[in-house]
């Protein structure tokens, strides 16, 4: 053990004596390990972020879009209104809401803003009354469209949270907005809908009102939002049949979180590529170590000679140089892992990710750095051990 510490001390003394050279050979393993740890950490942290979002959103919302199975031209396909009842009676389904996006409506917070909002129209959705329940989104202000509004085709509108910000809507404010010149009273603001971000800047009105003011012919929606906490996948498969009942009106279903779920799976091929690139950086670093140490052996031949004259064996000399490589590998591994972890921390912090960094991976890559450094130090060490003291000391 004493000998081990002596070797470590001699190695550290040898390395600190040539600080710039040591720093340069340290760069290889630091960059290699740092790059691998950072890339894997960022990859996993970003996936972790998606996973945490998924947990928040739930994975049981199904979206069914109308699809004309006969391929009718010119007309927007619709889902029959009574299909809502049929879908809601399916076992496992807890809530169903239909929506219909009304086209060619210019929505204005005030008349002077017409030019802008003609260029960037705000979507207007006729919606069922239970949209907040189905989307599991609360109101941030006021209330949603209710049965009274529906029964009386009231010109009551709910706006999305981003639109409320855009319009400068104050909580509880008595406010109207203009839809193609018709004033609607704003009765509430819906919170952000993470699974359907387009709703954040939309205007919601009742189907009856839409039918009266905007000539949508009937109250058939174009889209259904279905909440099915159990057997979600099965329900999604059943919905097209339940909607069409063998008729021409069809629907195509999707589960929006499926996409997120797929994205949240750690991309193994990307990880493998990253590891390969990092491994390459480590090997290049290793070649650098071997190169610099080989030159160092020549430069230090006199030191090697005197150590041999003082009784140090060939093995001791080899071990001394191998320990220098080992120290470089260990320091490179530690600093590389720290640098990589720092990059992951910074990226997670700046992008609001949950930082995920696996300790075994940190330790594992640091050990790879040690292994590469030691392997790189083998040749110079053997070269140092083979030096003949008589040749290096240049006697009289």
């Amino acid at each position: 053990m004493k000998r081990f510490f002596e070797l470590v001390r001699v190695a550290i003394a040898g390395l600190t004596a040539r600080k710039v050279r040591t720093l340069l050979i340290l760069l290889g393993p630091i960059l290699g390990v740092g790059a691998i740890v950072a890339a894997i950490g960022i990859n996993e942290s970003s996936k972790g972020y998606l996973k945490s979002q998924l947990q928040e959103l739930g994975t049981d919302l199904i979206v069914a879009n109308a699809q004309d199975s006969l391929g009718g031209f010119g007309q927007t396909p619709r889902i029959p209104e009574d299909a809502i009842g049929r879908v809601s009676r399916l076992p496992d389904v807890t809530s169903v809401t239909g929506t219909y996006q009304i086209s060619n409506v210019v929505t204005l917070p005030f008349d002077d803003a017409e030019d802008y909002y003609k260029a960037f129209p705000v979507p207007v959705l006729a919606t069922g009354l239970n949209l907040p329940e189905t989307m599991e989104v609360p109101m941030v202000s006021g209330r949603f469209i209710n049965q009274f509004d529906y029964d009386h085709s009231a010109r009551a509108a709910v706006i999305g949270r981003d639109l409320a910000d855009e319009y400068g809507y104050m909580r509880g404010e008595q406010r109207t907005i203009s839809l193609n010149g018709i004033d609607y009273g704003v009765v509430g603001v819906l919170d952000w809908v993470l699974l359907e971000p387009s709703m954040d800047s939309a205007v919601f009105i009742a189907f009856s009102t839409a039918e009266k003011d905007w000539e949508i012919e009937n109250q058939d929606p174009t889209r259904l939002y279905v909440r099915a906490p159990t057997n979600t996948k099965l329900v999604a498969e059943e919905i097209p049949t339940v909607v069409s009942l063998g008729g021409p009106d069809g629907a195509r279903t999707s589960v929006p979180t499926d996409l997120l779920n797929a994205e949240s799976q750690v991309d193994e091929s990307l990880n493998t590529l990253t590891k390969l690139m990092g491994g390459l950086a480590l090997i290049v670093g290793g070649v650098g170590i071997a190169n610099v140490m080989s030159i160092s052996v020549i430069q230090r031949s006199s030191e090697i000679g005197i150590r041999r004259a003082l009784g140090h064996t060939r093995t001791t000399i080899a071990m001394q140089f191998l320990f220098e490589a080992l120290v470089v590998g260990v320091l490179g591994g530690i600093f590389g892992a720290l640098a990589g972890a720092g990059v992951v921390w910074f990226t997670s912090w700046s992008r609001d990710y949950v930082m995920i960094l696996s300790l075994p991976s940190l330790i594992g890559w640091s050990l790879v750095s040690v292994a590469v450094a030691v392997a790189s130090g083998l040749y110079p060490s053997m070269k140092a051990a083979r030096l003949e003291p008589l040749e290096t000391l240049r006697l009289g």
């Binding site: 000998r3 004596a17 005197i306 004259a309 009784g311 064996t313 240049r394 006697l395 009289g396």
Partner: protein
């Protein structure tokens, strides 16, 4: 009692395989305890080869090198290195101090890998430096020391292990005359009843200052002269 510390028995050293160079031819020599001697000769006379063999840095092509009667020729590198570290102290013309180590660190190097605690190593090294009049210069690096001081650090390093023989190769070659004279006094003082001091030089003045002078020519010893007490 005077005993043979180092001995060469009919030693020959031939370099090269295709073209053979006979550096030493059938040389026999005994270095006794208490010897203060010199090996002198012109360039190419074989004195450096002799130094390498006496210092166990090289092995003879023929013959034996013995340390206190123990044959070192048949030893492996590990055993020979250990014996060299224990029995021989080297001093070189160019000092050969390790530049990044302090004076203390350089002396301590000779005590490494001997199972000594760092504290003991430091203590012994400091004592050795002190003996050479370098107390207080322990932390100085070689570049911060004069030539004479560097050589004294090298001598401190050579004697810190308490070797049987101190072998010095042109120890005053890189020094001015005043420092050279001082260093010669140091060498004369190193001699003890248990230890021998052997200087290898081409400088007759240095050789004359020793008690026993071995003259070499063409790989052979031509004279082994006892010169009386020169101290």
């Amino acid at each position: 009692m005077v005993e043979s510390l180092l001995s060469l028995e009919s030693v020959s050293r031939i370099y090269g395989t295709d073209v053979e160079v006979h550096a030493l031819h059938q040389v026999s020599l005994d270095i006794f305890s208490g010897d203060f001697m010199s090996i002198v000769g012109p360039s190419g006379s074989g004195k450096s080869t002799m130094l390498g063999l006496l210092g166990l840095l090289d092995v003879p092509t023929k013959g034996n090198v013995k340390v206190k009667g123990v044959d070192a020729t048949s030893m492996n590198d590990f055993q020979r290195s250990r014996l060299r570290g224990d029995a021989i102290g080297f001093v070189f013309q160019q000092f050969h101090l390790i530049p990044h180590l302090s004076a203390l660190g350089n002396v301590e190097t000779a005590l490494l890998y001997r199972g000594l605690s760092p504290k003991t190593r430091k203590k012994k090294a400091a004592e050795s430096l002190d003996k050479l009049g370098l107390g207080g210069r322990e932390d100085h690096r070689p570049v911060q020391l004069s030539g004479g001081e560097q050589q004294r650090v090298a001598i401190a390093r050579a004697i810190v292990t308490d070797p049987l023989v101190v072998l010095a190769d042109e120890p005053t070659g890189a020094l001015d005359s005043e420092n050279a004279e001082n260093i010669m006094k140091v060498f004369a003082d190193l001699k003890s009843p248990e230890r021998a001091v052997c200087l290898v030089t081409h400088d007759m003045q240095i050789a004359d200052a020793t008690e026993r002078k071995i003259s070499m020519k063409d790989g052979e010893i031509v004279q082994d002269l006892i010169q009386g007490d020169k101290k």
